[in-house]
Structure formats: structure tokens, C-alpha cells
Symmetry: C2
Subunit: 685 residues, 2 copies
């Protein structure tokens, strides 16, 4: 249990790959080989140019030395030709660019809408304006929407199954992007009306990226499936009546509640920051939302400005310039790196040099290494880098209290002694993992015995929420965990074998071929277990304790329990949420296509999901982290690397490729260009 | 008095030109003439191509029809040539662009600073760390700064005159940009650490422009004169001790005060919103700051989202979608226009059509026309445009109270009857002119009789604050007004004449030549009066009441009083502030150069400013305003025009040219591009 919990928190929700990284290509300017060719050709040319003029001129290199050599033979005409060609090239290039600019202006001119489209025949469904009341709490039920009659596509959605998605994060957006728009009536419910590209959030705290570049309006994503958006907060679910209870503060400041009915519900509400029971977190900043990034930027700059004032004492100045990051996962590490970049690249040009000298960045990590989910060599690389950059890494340290102007933590020395230290600080970022949102706690409590995990909603490997009617409710992303309780399913694995042998499952003896069948079933139901079921013969031998040539019930249980213990829960990362969203999209598409056939064959009541689509299998593609003008990449199983500027470009390329839309890609690229040209914005607003 | 006040408020601080607008050039694609040439050339080519092959091929046009014609004569080779050339052109263009991209990456790679520059020999002045106390309130005095020893340039500034600038708006930035960095030790004091490009602020409220594109870090501007920045608020000035009292809340939340000593002080603290004594302004939004723009954007989107919820009643929905703008000056008009654009171009794609139908935009204006400082035809043009766009313009209307969900105003009908109306509203922008900041009120009170204007600090035409030691304190921008009290100076005008004639000024009779001398002096001292002193002979005749051929004291006083009454005070616009800042920069540069000579000639005590540089003369370059896919331009004296999209491009070009830095220009251009490609951002954060 503890092992699972640790894996969940250490993984965090960031710094993970969604696609294999492209091999970074950075060609150097001129290779020695190219130089040789150049010389050879030039020499050849000298040999031939004097006696006979070649009918077709050899390839020319427009370099000053070349022109000078040419000028000894037939100077005016050749020179003129070279100049003419150069001008033609330049001209055509300028023309090319100009045409682009003019084209853009012409396009731009078409984007201004001048007239309001007259919509006289606007029809609004009666129930959208006057919703019926009902459900256990007799609240208004959102059965019809204001835009249900707005166009033909929407009109046809009326009788489609209602797919309600709670949350607008990685999982939900991946689901929306891959869902076939023809099959469902989609509603997304979320208190924020944008999708946030979380892995780049640390970059936004110091102005490397603009806030706009990291967010995409959720309505724009939903438009792809012609769905609806409700800006509200999910509070509860009535699983029998298939109603989600949502709340929103109305224009009079009153909390309004209503129901949204569903046929299929996807819960992807994410997680909240884990306070770890530490006192004084009100003095900390968090980094979950775009507004957090804005507040951090303002606070950092405010501290720098205060440090310049004559009324600030030496002691206060040092304290104001002491930046503490609690948590050595990717978020904490990347924030420390970005902060260091800001102070080193931009601050020094604008503020007194004294400030740069008195600034200190501290990173408090409870484990022995920062980035502890990464390969140890990479953790070491990051630590060396930080040591060189004078970022103070405090490992084996646990924060016990945050005060208004200092942070108290206990540090464990290598000899096991524990010392309590107090560090004056002017800013503290708290990024020590995630915990369960209130909504999930409510749901979990309601489902009782079916939900045993204190940290996340448990689903089966088909991502169906345990304890709810099969095929009704799914949970994905940070708020959910996939149960890999292989051993618990032993009876069901053996049932069909027992039926074949005509005996009680518990009295069965399995031969190797039976064992192979069971293993196949386990692999199908729990894809993550496949890695541990590779050498079936060895396992059989190993667990056949009495050397009987067969496995009895106890031996098999022991075998599966051992496999169980080897399975860690999946990391709470963007990568996992994304894969789960995609998985559900593909399954829902298949379910919709299979619906009529299933209905004809009367298997609506059975395990339809399993009949139609495979179980969810997580494929870890790697993790990456920015560590200050360098980056580390971990592809798992000891493979990975860390490097300098080229790795930074690679790191950017990967996130660029994963970015949610063309819009955010263009904005990101522009932001990186801005940084190069103008530096970061040292302004608070 | 009333006339002046009206001119001040109506002018507002925006929508004015700082430079004459460039003539918009929008070339159309192909003119008929170009087509003719094309045909002629092609025909010519047919005539010559068959019998003799030209040694140099005529210009070719790569069009499908052209290829087809060519293929009848010598198809393969010509076609190949055309394709080859086209490919060469395309190739070179791609190469050109690629080289640019590669070049940018190489440049980018050089912008990452990897090592902290070791600054072991950092010297900090003793007084910077331990400021001396003094002045009337015994506060710390900021005599030396933390960075005074940071480099050679700063070290040399130690004995330069101390120029302290309060505020970082248009006036201050214009001054900083034109000031010679060698002559002064410059300090800027402002509570905000950025310069805001105010005229474009309405565009930022709806996401047409990003917030970052409108601001420039003030430290970057100050770096041009190697000056210092103190982020604090000016509270008071001790004019005899030459100390500015400033305040700042320190890191413990305590209000700290200290003095900043000056040799020359420039007051450019701007103005605050004018409440006009209306109740309930806490329910309104304002548009003075970048954070205001952010809040407005969030509120607009929040209202749209609330309007979609099923728990929102019909009545509430209509109210939420009723947007009211109070104030028909450029700010109000442009905000209404930008809001209309948002609703018309972007909203309709993302929200139910019902919303678009129920949205209403109201513009409440106390005068008979919107944009009432503009030429009447332009006001009319704007009103027609708004009428077409269904923006409800309510003229002759005065807001009496703003309630939480409605606005109460009185409207004067053409027959003079006054009706009180109440309009339900979900959002109200208050943009009805400016009023004096607290700091200016404090100063004004202190200076007593020398300051008689309730609305702004009075300066003479050399921009020196009335009532302060000559040449010590200047006031520019919105917080100041230039006194044009021509008649009050009549005695001083006549003194030298009287001295020449050996008589009392009041008993003098002026011949025409004397009058001409007086007029010259008036023009020099009050450049704004020059317009009214063009026909000196006519004025002489007109005011020589007793037809004596001379003007006596009473007659001259009457004449100058009449001119006085014709002079309106200058508009409180960015344009005026900018010109005043430039004026002071040029004067300060001249003063510094002349300093040694003046000292030698012992004229330090006299009117040095007048001896060195001319009086300030405001040149009105024109006003402009965006009115929703069209714009109006007013160049004064009845000249001006309004137009559609091409005028919008012209409007943008002007602001693009006036923008404070290359950085903001690039950012603005990018934002306009983004709008065209991706629309506005319908997100609140």
C-alpha cells in the first residue's frame, strides 16, 4: 500500500513524455569534408578556366575570395553575372516574403465580420428555458440546452447517448480530440473554461512563456465534437438515477445547484495540492493553475523591487531574496531552474549587482535525490548542474512548518541523526505532490466498500469506476487509479476451468497447459502484469512447491499475489491521463459502432466493454525535465541522457509537438523568439 | 472657467495623434493596365518565337495558359526551363527563409547565460546601506543608491545634478527617451514598474491584444539614461529642502516613508478616474491600468458563461448580457467597439446563438454627441456606424446612480424635458474623464495662492510649477495644466516700454510699433496665443475705442483679456504629455550644456529657462478613434475623415509607429496576426 502511494506522489503530474522524443538534429556549420570539396573544386576551376571556357560553368561559390580569383581572367562579365544572380536570388526571396505578408493582410481583411447574421428563426427548446425539476433533491435538470436547435448537427444529437465529462484537463481533452463526433451528445462540465498545458507552467512563472500560450479555450476543443460546455463544479453523482449534481455561484452570489443527466459519465476532475499536514501553507505559493503562475511572477518581482528600497534592512534584503522550493519533483526542479534563468539572464541587467550577489535559491527534497523517479544518473546530473549554478539542494529534508518569513525543516544526516533547521525566506513554492479533490472524496464515500483507496478513485482495467453499474461511469487522470488486484480475481479465472473439469475451483490442480490459459486470461484482464508473466515455465516450476507437476489453489494464489506485489500503480502524470483519454475515445467509438449488433444479440447486460475493446494498458514513453540551460530525458529501464543547450531545444521540440493546438504551438514559438530578442518581462501586473 | 474644465475632461487622455498619420497604401491585385501589358507581351512573343529564337528570352509569366501556348512551338525544352526557373526561385526563397530561421537559432543559442559573472569586487556605498536621516520629518534620505558603484558610468554620475521624475507615463517616458544620458543623475519614482501604452487599452479588454504587448518595463526605458528606479509612491514634496517624501509598504506590511533629494523635480503622476459624485461606482469597472483590462475581460466572459446556465432566468440572462459604457469619449467608444467585435466575431462561434440575440451594448453620453471633441461630421459617422451595429447610443444622458444590477440616468429630450430611466445591466464601464490625484491635491494646498485650479497643477509656459523656486520643479501630463493668463502679465510686458519712455506703465499710450513689440513678447511667452495675434493692425483698430491712434492701459488690458478668454487649456491627452516630456528633455539638455557659461555670467538666479530655451508650444497633430471595423481621424480645423477596414489598418499603423519600443511593436504585430489566425481568447484567468 505504502509502495503504491509513494509511486503516485513521486510521479507528479508533469515532466512526462506523451510521444517518443525526436532525435535532436543540430548540424554544425561546415564539416572538414565539405571544406575539402570546396578547395578541390576551386583548384580545378583555376586549371580549366584559362585555356578553354567551359560551355556550362561549374558550380560557383559566392565568396569574396572566389570573386577575386575570377577577376584575373574575365573580370567584368563574370562579376556582373555573379552580382546579377545574387540580386535575382535576393530579389526573389524578398518577393517571396512580401507576397506572404500581402497574402496575410488579404486573409486578415476577410476575418472581420461586418454584419450580424440575422437569426430571426431562432428556436430555443422549451425545457432549456424552463427546466423540469426532479431527482432525489428536486433540482432543475439540464435535459435540453440553449443551442440544441442551433444547427442541423445539433438537432440530430438529440437522441444520441449522453456522454458527460467532468473536468477539462489532459484526460478529457485527449478523449474529446479522438472521439467520433457522430455518436454522442457530449457535455463537458468544468469550473475553468480552458485547458492548461501543465508541463510548461514553470516557464510561465518567470515570463519565459506568456500565460496565453499555455491555455486553450475548452469551448474550442469541444467544438470538434459539437459538444456543450457548462461552467460549473461537480458536487455529487446519483449513480442509480444517472444524474450529476453540479453547483455554480449565480450572478446574485447565490450557490445554485442543478442536475445534468448522463448515459455515460467520465470523471476527470484531477487532484488538489497535497498539504502533507504541514502548518502555515497559507504563506506558500502553489503551481496548479495559470493564475498561480501570474501570482508567483508578481511576488518574485515585488521581492526584487522591495530589496532595492533604502528602508529595507540588510537582513530583510537577504530574506526577500531567499527563494525556497519545497519538493524535488519535476515541477519544483523546473521552477528552480526557470527562476535561476530569470535571475541570471535578465535580472542582472536591470537591478543593482548587489541583488544578484545576495540571491539564494533553495530546493528542499524529502528523498535522497531530486527527480527521484528518474534514473539515478540523471538525478545526479541534475544535482551537479544545480550545484554549479549555486542552487542549494537540501535532500533528506522534510518541511515541518512554514512561517511568514521562514521555513522550518528537519534534515537527516547520513549517520541517521536528525537536525531541525530554520531558513529565512521571502518566497516559498509548495509542490510536493497531489491529493484527492473533495468531489472524489464524496463519491468514494458513497461507493463504500467498492472504494478502498484513500488517495484516488479505483477503477478496473477497463477504467470503469468500481462499485458503479458496469459501463456507466469511468474515471481517468490524476483523480483515478487502475486496480491491478490480480490475486482477487483468481476464482473468476478458475471458474471456467473448474466448469470444464466438473469440480470445485478450490480443489483444482492445474497442469502447465491450464496455467498457460490462466496466464493468458490474466494478461488480457491486467495488461500491466504481462511483463511479469513472460517465463511461464519458470514461474510454474518456482511455485510448484511440492514438485507435483501441478499447481494447486494455494500455490496459484501465492504466485498471483507475488505478481500483484510487483505491480506499482500508474504514475499520476499528464502522460497517463492522455493515454487514458485516448483509450476511452477509441472504446466509445467502438461501442457506438457495435451498439446495434450488441442490441440484436442481447448482450447489453453483460461485460460489453470487455467484449468490444481490450483493457487499458499504460505505455511509459519517458520522462523529461528542464534543469536550467540543460535538460534530462529518462526513457525508463536505465535508458536516458542529460545535456546542455541542444537538450533544451529537444525538450522544447517534444512539448511543442505535444501542445494541444496549432494556436498554442505558434504562441509558444513566438514566446521563445521573444525571450531571445527581448528577454523576460520583469513587470508585475 | 467652465469652458476650460469642459475641454479638459472631454479631451480625455487617449485617442490622439503624436505624429501625422502615414497615407495608407493598399495596392490592389492587378490593375487593368497590367493585364494589357501581359497580353501584348504574350502576343509579341508568339510573333517572334517561330521564325527566330531570341538570344535572351523575354520575360516569362508562369501561368498555366502560358505553358499551354508555349507547348505548341518548342514544348519540352521551354517547359523544362520554366519549371527549372520556378523551382530555382522557390528554392532560393525557401533557402532564404531557412537561413533566417537557422540564423535565429544560432542567435538564440548565444542568449543563454551559463555562468554567473563573478563580482568579487562589488562595492556598495555606505550611505546606500545605512541611509542618513534628516529633513523636516527626520526620515531616511536616499542620497546614494545600491548600484552607484556598479560601473564607470554610474560612478561618474555622482556629482551630476539630480533629476527626479515622479511617474512613468507618457510624459516621463518621452523625457527619458530624449534626455542626454551624460548630464544628469536620473531617478524615476513610480508605484508601477511598467509604462502602459494607454491608447490601446480597450483592445486588451477583449483579447485583441495581449496584456504584455501594451507594457514596457520602466527599468528598460530608464536604462537608456543609466538611471535608477524606485518603486514607491510620492506623497509630498518639501520645496525648500528639495526633498520628495515617498512611501512604500515593506515586506512586513508596514508603511515606510523616506526622502529622495532632487535638484530638478518633474511631476508626471497622471490623474485618477473622475467619479463626478455619482453613487455606487463600486459596481463599475474602470480602464486606467493593465489589471483593469484583465478584470474586464474576466467579467465579460464570466457573464457569458453564467448566461448559459439552466438556473439563470430569462430576466437575469438579458441583464447579464446588457453591457453599459458610461462616457462617450474615445475610451468609451473604443471599448464599445471592441466589445462589439468580440461578440460579433468570436462569441457567435462558441456560444449558443440565443446569447448573440439577447446581447445589448449601451453607450451613455452626457453631451449631444459621442466623441464630442471631434469634428461633428466624424461624431455623426461614428454614431451612424454604431446605429448600424446595434450599439445603443444614449446622448444627453447623465448617470445619477449605479446600482448592483442596474444603472439610473436622466435623459434630456430635445424639447428640454428631463426623464429618469433605469437600465438593467450586467457590466458597466465608467470612463467619464479624469480628476486630480491625492498627491497633487497635497502639493496644490501647500502652494496656496499660487495654485488656483481645482483640477490640475498650474505651470507657467515653461512648465515650471507655479509657486515653487524658479527652475526647480516642473509638472507635465494629465496632472498639470499650462496657464495662459496673458492679461495678468500686462504690467511686466509694459515695464520695459515704460522704462524706455520714463513713465509709469499705467499711464503709457502705445503706438502701433509699441503694440507690435508687446505682441511679440506675448507670443514668445505664450506661444498658444500666437494664433489670435495674427492681424495686429486689425486688433489695434478694433480695440482703439477712442480712435486716438494709440492704445491706453485700459484698452490694452481689454484686448489681452479677450485673447485670454479665447485660449482653452490644453487637452489631457497622451499627445500633450508626450510633447511636454520631449520639451523638457530638450530644455534640460540645453540647460546642462549652458550651465558653465551661465555660471560664469552670474545669471543663475534669473529666469534661466527663458534665457536658454523657448516656451512650450503644443502642436495638435490630430485625434483618432477605432469604432468597430472602421476608424475616424480628426486633424483639427474641420479636416478629418472616417472609413472602413483601410482606416483600421491606418489606425493601427499610427499606433504601431508611436509604440514605445521595438519590443512592443513586434508583440503588437504578433497579436494582430494571432487575432486573424485564431480569434480572440475567450478565457478568464
Amino acid at each position: 500500500m505504502l509502495g503504491r502511494r509513494v509511486a503516485r506522489h513521486a510521479g507528479l503530474r508533469r515532466g512526462q513524455l506523451l510521444a517518443p522524443p525526436p532525435r535532436p538534429k543540430l548540424s554544425t556549420t561546415t564539416t572538414p569534408r565539405a571544406t575539402t570539396t570546396l578547395t578541390t573544386q576551386r583548384q580545378l576551376y583555376f586549371l580549366t578556366s584559362k585555356p578553354t571556357r567551359p560551355t556550362t560553368p561549374p558550380p560557383q561559390f559566392f565568396s569574396p575570395s572566389n570573386i577575386r580569383s575570377l577577376s584575373t581572367t574575365k573580370p567584368p562579365r563574370r562579376l556582373k553575372l555573379v552580382i546579377q544572380r545574387s540580386l535575382a536570388w535576393l530579389g526573389s526571396s524578398v518577393l517571396f516574403v512580401s507576397l506572404g505578408v500581402i497574402g496575410f493582410f488579404i486573409y486578415d481583411a476577410t476575418t472581420y465580420v461586418d454584419h450580424i447574421s440575422a437569426s430571426g428563426d431562432l428556436r430555443i427548446p422549451h425545457l432549456a428555458l424552463n427546466p423540469r425539476r426532479g431527482g432525489p433533491k428536486n433540482l432543475p435538470i439540464l435535459e435540453e440546452y440553449l443551442d440544441d436547435e442551433d444547427d442541423e448537427v445539433r438537432k440530430q444529437q438529440k437522441d444520441k447517448p449522453r456522454l458527460v465529462i467532468l473536468g477539462g484537463g489532459w484526460g478529457s481533452v485527449a478523449l474529446l480530440k479522438d472521439l467520433n463526433p457522430d455518436h454522442y451528445h457530449v457535455t463537458v462540465i468544468s469550473p475553468t473554461n480552458y485547458f492548461l498545458f501543465t508541463p510548461m507552467l514553470p516557464s510561465a512563472t518567470v515570463g519565459t512563456l506568456g500565460l496565453r500560450s499555455l491555455v486553450e479555450p475548452i469551448r474550442r476543443v469541444i467544438a470538434g465534437v459539437r459538444g456543450r460546455f457548462v461552467r460549473a463544479k461537480a458536487e455529487d453523482v446519483d449513480f442509480s438515477a444517472r444524474l450529476v449534481e453540479v453547483s455554480q455561484v449565480d450572478c446574485h452570489g447565490v450557490d445554485q445547484r442543478f442536475y445534468v443527466p448522463y448515459d455515460k459519465l467520465v470523471i476527470g476532475v484531477g487532484s488538489v495540492t497535497n498539504p502533507h499536514g504541514v502548518k502555515g501553507l497559507e504563506h506558500c505559493h502553489f503551481l496548479k493553475d495559470i493564475d498561480d503562475a501570474r501570482q508567483i511572477r508578481n511576488k518574485v518581482i515585488q521581492n526584487l523591487e522591495l530589496a532595492c528600497l533604502p528602508t529595507t534592512t540588510d537582513e530583510d534584503r537577504k530574506r526577500l531574496l531567499s527563494f525556497v522550493v519545497s519538493g524535488g519533483g519535476p515541477t519544483g526542479v523546473e521552477f528552480a531552474a526557470e527562476l535561476y534563468d530569470l535571475l541570471n539572464e535578465d535580472l542582472i541587467q536591470m537591478f543593482p549587482r548587489l541583488l544578484r550577489n545576495e540571491i539564494s535559491v533553495h530546493l528542499i527534497q524529502s528523498r535522497g535525490h531530486i527527480l527521484n523517479t528518474y534514473d539515478e544518473t540523471l538525478s545526479k546530473y541534475a544535482e551537479d548542474r544545480f550545484a554549479r549554478d549555486q542552487v542549494d539542494v537540501l535532500t533528506n529534508s522534510r518541511v515541518s512548518e512554514v512561517k511568514e518569513d521562514s521555513i522550518v525543516f528537519t534534515q537527516k544526516a547520513p549517520d541517521g541523526t536528525v537536525i531541525t533547521k530554520e531558513l529565512p525566506m521571502g518566497f516559498c513554492l509548495w509542490s510536493t505532490g497531489v491529493s484527492q479533490a473533495d468531489f472524489c472524496k464524496t463519491i468514494s464515500k458513497k461507493l463504500g466498500a467498492a472504494q478502498t483507496n484513500r488517495h484516488a478513485l479505483e477503477t478496473d482495467t477497463h477504467l470503469r469506476l468500481n462499485g458503479t453499474p458496469l459501463g456507466d461511469v469511468y474515471a481517468i487522470g490524476d483523480c483515478a487509479t487502475v486496480q491491478n488486484n490480480v490475486a482477487d480475481h483468481i476464482v473468476s479465472f478458475l471458474r471456467h476451468l473448474a466448469w470444464k473439469h466438473g469440480t470445485d475451483p478450490e480443489k483444482l490442480s492445474l497442469h502447465f497447459s491450464d496455467w498457460r490459459n490462466v496466464a493468458e486470461q490474466v494478461k488480457k484482464k491486467f495488461p500491466q502484469a504481462a511483463n511479469h508473466l513472460k517465463r511461464l515455465d519458470k514461474l510454474f516450476e518456482q511455485y510448484d512447491a511440492d514438485q507435483s507437476g501441478t499447481l494447486d489453489f494455494e500455490e496459484l494464489t501465492e504466485l498471483l499475489k507475488q505478481i500483484d506485489s510487483k505491480l506499482t500503480s500508474l504514475p499520476a502524470t499528464a502522460q497517463r491521463a492522455h493515454q487514458q483519454g485516448q483509450y476511452l475515445a477509441h472504446k466509445f467509438n467502438k461501442l457506438a459502432r457495435a451498439a446495434s449488433g450488441l442490441r440484436a444479440n442481447d448482450i447489453i447486460e453483460g461485460d460489453v466493454d470487455a467484449a468490444v475493446y481490450k483493457a487499458f494498458e499504460y505505455k511509459h514513453l519517458g520522462s523529461l525535465a528542464y534543469i536550467g540551460n540543460s535538460a534530462v530525458f529518462d526513457f525508463g529501464e536505465g535508458r536516458g541522457f542529460g545535456g546542455g543547450l541542444w537538450a533544451v531545444y529537444a525538450w522544447r521540440s517534444i512539448y511543442f509537438a505535444q501542445s494541444v493546438s496549432f494556436r498554442t504551438r505558434v504562441l509558444m514559438a513566438m514566446d521563445w523568439g521573444k525571450r531571445a530578442l527581448f528577454g523576460r518581462d520583469l513587470m508585475s501586473y
